[in-house]
């Protein structure tokens, strides 16, 4: 398998060093149970490996409980992994402390779903935007002011918003303020955790375009965490599909647009409502049941309980990531030449 990878990806991987890399990362959380019951372990993320290159937008897709938000927190060094390593520019984030960690954190920034929760309602926009300067003791008043004006310009807001309070702005404007503030310290990596989920469609498109512009002009790498497959397919260079904390598929945009290889990605694609009244979802396209509890994930492939193409061996073997042509990795026995019973044929995309 390593041979195939070398053959496929050696050239461009050697050319660009990853800015952020996940190496066999696991994250577990102990969950308290009732009195006298032994605590259970929630497996939020299991054995996740991938690289982010500078200026790359990676979509992290999954449903509730897939571990996508945990992945975002790990990428920022907000919590250490239980095992495995998260590296930023080659340094292990878990090994950094104090001043060194603060320096690295300047380069890693986060924007959340709800701009109302990110902005203090009792502070003017200017006060909120001054915070990063104060915390990192940067510049004098005049320099700060100039920098803020520049940042507002980047996100296309007039300087008149500075004297206003969050409740006087619309949702889209607030999210622009949050993005501008995240850019204050010239980060290299931005984690956008459902950053457009709460916005109206027309505003959503504006913010997506803004993020694409920022990548272009500032060379930002963006981890775009989202449950919205159509948006991810439109804007991301590569997409990582998670289910119950495990990587199902890591693909180029093209691979996902074609419907993906993994049965879960395919089901996700089919379930996303298509804006075309002539193509309504058929009953046979529905996934059965619900996502199992991450407290007791199914054995073998975690998706086998809902998978329309599950085979007997799926409940016992954890499928390894198989490298397919076109920089496309998939964790499914259908594509594993040694274990699959027949030659795997990708389903026609929905």
């Amino acid at each position: 398998m390593n041979g195939m990878k070398a053959h496929d990806q050696a050239a461009d991987e050697a050319a660009v060093q990853p800015i952020l890399s996940f190496d066999r990362v696991c994250r577990e959380f102990p969950v308290k149970q009732a009195f006298l019951q032994s605590p259970k372990v929630l497996h939020a993320l299991t054995d996740v490996s991938f690289d982010v290159r500078p200026g790359e937008i990676i979509g992290i897709v999954g449903e509730s409980g897939s571990g996508k938000s945990t992945l975002g927190r790990l990428a920022l060094g907000m919590m250490p992994p239980t095992s495995g390593t998260v590296r930023y520019q080659g340094q292990d984030l878990a090994g950094l402390h104090g001043r060194k960690l603060r320096e690295v954190r300047r380069d890693l920034q986060l924007i959340f779903q709800d701009p109302n929760a990110s902005l203090n309602g009792r502070m003017t926009i200017e006060q909120s935007m001054l915070e990063p300067f104060v915390l990192h003791k940067l510049g004098n008043r005049a320099e700060q002011r100039a920098a803020i004006a520049r940042l507002l310009d980047v996100v296309s807001l007039p300087t008149s918003v500075l004297q206003r309070y969050p409740h006087e702005l619309s949702g889209g404007q607030k999210q622009r303020v949050v993005i501008a503030r995240a850019l204050t310290l010239s980060p290299k990596v931005l984690v956008a955790d459902e950053a457009v989920a709460a916005l109206d469609v027309s505003v959503k498109a504006q913010i997506v375009n803004l993020l694409l512009d920022l990548r272009q002009s500032l060379g930002l790498a963006i981890l775009f965490v989202s449950h919205d497959l159509p948006i991810v397919q439109g804007m991301c260079d590569r997409v990582l599909v998670l289910y119950l904390g495990r990587v199902m598929e890591l693909s180029s945009r093209k691979g996902i647009q074609d419907g993906g290889l993994h049965p879960y990605t395919q089901a996700l694609t089919r379930s996303s409502p298509v804006p075309d009244p002539a193509r309504r979802l058929a009953a046979e396209d529905l996934l059965k049941g619900e996502v199992p509890s991450p407290l007791s994930p199914p054995s073998g492939c975690v998706f086998h309980t809902r998978c329309p193409r599950a085979m007997p061996q799926c409940s016992s073997i954890v499928p390894p990531l198989v490298h397919m042509p076109g920089h496309h990795d998939v964790a499914c026995l259908l594509y594993d030449a040694q274990r699959a019973p027949a030659v795997a044929v990708p389903l026609a995309s929905a």
Binding site: S202, A205, N209, P230, Q233, L287, V291
Partner: protein
């Protein structure tokens, strides 16, 4: 009653609120009809008035809201009633019985300290639809019908023991307990994962077909509209700006706002940059002086900000509020 009889007939519904900045015209002259067995999607962004529409039909708005207009519900065995003219006491007889509602967030709609079976039974007993002693069986039957596996033991669980999708199924069971003529579904799938959303959309379609209900489905997601609606009413600034059968609306939209809304849908095949709509929805203080969309409209002319566009008929089933729809 035949399948194409009108079940919900809303005539010139207007809602105003007094505020310190002047009167807020939350709804202006909303007129719509929904037939039995038909799904009308109300689409729009925040502040377009789609939720105010459903809340005013349920008469759940604050006393300070001034309502005008009529909203008739016609069922086959009884004479029609105008919901807006009823007293609160009479309205109690209508809610759940003739007109029912499913909200976005099932957790806030369910009682957290009561078993879900009891909550379904409550809906049945209030309107005395089922003989006492039979409510329990009927509640379990309803839970099974909305796709809850092992309904007898699930009925003894509390809302926090269920997933979001399951809770929404319970809400649907409660809403449909008394076989209402009209179901208002206000963003019922927005808080759910996509694979669960697909299941719930499918369930609503199936139950509607069986019962011949009229459904008003409120959503901001054009993808969901395409999946579920027979007809679409696009709302903007408290008005319906365009109504058409779903296929026709997607294929030949006439209003510039509808076009912009359709253009801002991410279509994966195209990739890259999306088209948004510049600007944002205007505050709806005071009566409309012109077209509410004029300040964001790519083809607005001076006439648009001084003259309120009237509803024009594109054909028998398609109407639009725009001065320049013929030229687009």
């Amino acid at each position: 009653m035949s399948h194409d009889a009108i079940a919900l007939d809303v005539k010139q519904l207007s809602v105003r609120f007094a505020s310190s900045n002047g009167q807020i015209h939350a709804l202006t002259d909303v007129t719509m009809q929904v037939r039995r067995g038909e799904t009308l999607a109300l689409v729009g962004e925040s502040g377009s008035g789609k939720s105010v529409t459903s809340l005013s039909l349920m008469r759940l708005l604050d006393n300070r809201a001034q309502l005008a207009g009529q909203a008739w519900v016609h069922a086959d065995d009884t004479p029609g009633v105008d919901l807006l003219s009823l007293s609160e006491k009479q309205m109690l007889q209508m809610r759940g019985n003739r007109i029912s509602m499913v909200f976005q967030e099932p957790m806030t709609s369910l009682n957290p300290v009561q078993r879900i079976g009891k909550q379904v039974e409550e809906a049945l007993t209030i309107h005395a639809k089922v003989k006492r002693g039979e409510t329990r069986t009927r509640a379990i039957e309803l839970l099974g019908k909305v796709g809850i596996s092992d309904p007898a033991s699930r009925a003894r669980q509390y809302p926090h023991q269920l997933s979001g999708g399951m809770r929404q199924r319970v809400m649907i069971a409660i809403a449909l307990a008394c076989e209402p003529t009209v179901l208002l579904a206000d963003e019922p799938t927005t808080a759910l994962d996509v694979t669960i959303q697909a299941q719930i959309l499918h369930l609503i379609r199936k139950l509607q077909r069986e019962a011949g209900m009229a459904v008003v489905f409120i959503t901001h997601d054009m993808g969901v509209v395409a999946q579920i609606a027979d007809r679409v009413a696009v709302m903007y600034g408290g008005q319906i700006v365009e109504t058409a059968p779903t296929a026709e609306l997607f294929a030949a939209p006439k209003h510039p706002y509808t076009k912009a809304l359709l253009d801002s849908i991410p279509r994966p095949a195209e990739g890259g940059v999306l088209r948004g709509i510049p600007g944002q929805i205007e505050a709806i203080v005071g009566a409309p002086k012109g077209c509410r969309f004029a300040n964001r409209c790519p083809r607005a002319e001076s006439r648009c900000s001084i003259e309120v566009p009237v509803e024009s008929r594109v054909n028998d089933v398609h109407s639009v509020r725009c001065h320049f729809w013929e030229k687009s």
